[in-house]
């Protein structure tokens, strides 16, 4: 453990803003790359279900 206290950890020796901004952006990018395909899949499946229903009705 490098930091004596929690406020030290947040401050990062005066560079807290840069370090935390970087990690926040990284978190956002990673989450987007997981959530986006997950939402996409939901939409694709619901579209397919709707299409299948329509086809079954018409036949």
């Amino acid at each position: 453990m490098n930091f004596d206290s929690f406020s030290d950890f947040i401050a990062m020796g005066g560079h807290g803003f840069y370090v935390w901004l970087s990690y926040a952006i990284a978190l956002v990018v990673v989450v987007i790359n997981i959530v986006n395909p997950a939402l996409q899949k939901k939409k694709i499946v619901s579209d397919l279900v709707r299409r299948l229903r329509r086809e079954n009705k018409s036949s």
Partner: protein
């Protein structure tokens, strides 16, 4: 041709089947997701809490644990996209096309992440948000190459045609990347005073590079997860008329 079949591993041919690929990726996904989660969490905690501060840059160097893995990933993702595209072109393998298409957005976001962290790191180190450093500039051009590929994908409506065209473009880019890198490095030494060297750090101690290794592995696992999710989506869309997809949807 029959000889070729013998030396090519079986899974290579099975990969050509969208259904088999969809199922195998579904099986692999949870494992990679767990690994990515564990490695990324462990790496982040290690990087932020336990890695020692750097002699010259203090704690701001901790950005390296994001910057380096994302930059590595952005580069290898482009290579993977081009190689998958080439496999799609040569063997007419649909799944390879889909993998190549799924690589593009991930690689582009990774390039953005590498650029953003590089810029943020530049502020405390160089005193400005942007410096025309050779590596940052190369990364910016890599991002442009990704954006070109994505633009080409979205401009062509026919899926098969878009995949082939983008594969050609990605291959042309792959040939160009070393030339671009060389020219930018060379241009940079001409324009930049040597004081702006961020990359020439003293050799890292194990306490510093071990968490970096963990983060790199974590990023690659995350890439595998995101890539498989996107590729599975792509398979569903392009195989929507196949009976197995209909059965799959009916089950849900």
């Amino acid at each position: 041709m029959s000889e070729k079949k013998n030396w090519m591993p079986r899974w290579f041919y099975q990969l050509a089947s969208p259904r088999w690929s969809y199922e195998i990726m579904g099986k692999l996904l949870p494992g990679f997701a767990v690994a990515a989660f564990l490695f990324l969490i462990a790496g982040t905690v290690w990087a932020l809490l336990f890695a020692p501060p750097e002699a010259y840059q203090g704690n701001s160097y901790r950005i390296i644990y994001i910057h380096v893995p994302s930059a590595l990933l952005a580069q290898s993702c482009y290579m993977m996209m081009a190689i998958a595209g080439a496999i799609g072109l040569i063997w007419k393998m649909k799944v390879a096309d889909m993998v190549a298409k799924s690589c593009a957005p991930i690689g582009a976001t990774m390039a953005v992440l590498a650029l953003a962290t590089g810029a943020i790191w530049g502020k405390p180190t160089w005193g400005s948000w942007w410096v025309w450093d050779a590596r940052l500039t190369s990364m910016l051009i890599l991002l442009f190459l990704y954006l070109g590929v994505i633009a080409l994908y979205s401009a062509i409506e026919n899926e098969a045609m878009a995949a082939k065209s983008a594969a050609v473009l990605a291959l042309v880019g792959l040939v160009n990347i070393p030339i671009i890198k060389y020219s930018v490095d060379w241009w940079n030494t001409l324009h930049q005073p040597a004081t702006f060297k961020l990359t020439e750090r003293p050799a890292m101690v194990p306490e510093m590079w071990l968490p970096l290794l963990v983060m790199v592995i974590g990023f690659y696992c995350f890439f595998a997860v995101s890539l498989m999710m996107r590729t599975r989506n792509e398979i569903l869309v392009r195989e929507r008329r196949a009976s197995w997809v209909k059965e799959l949807v009916e089950k849900q």
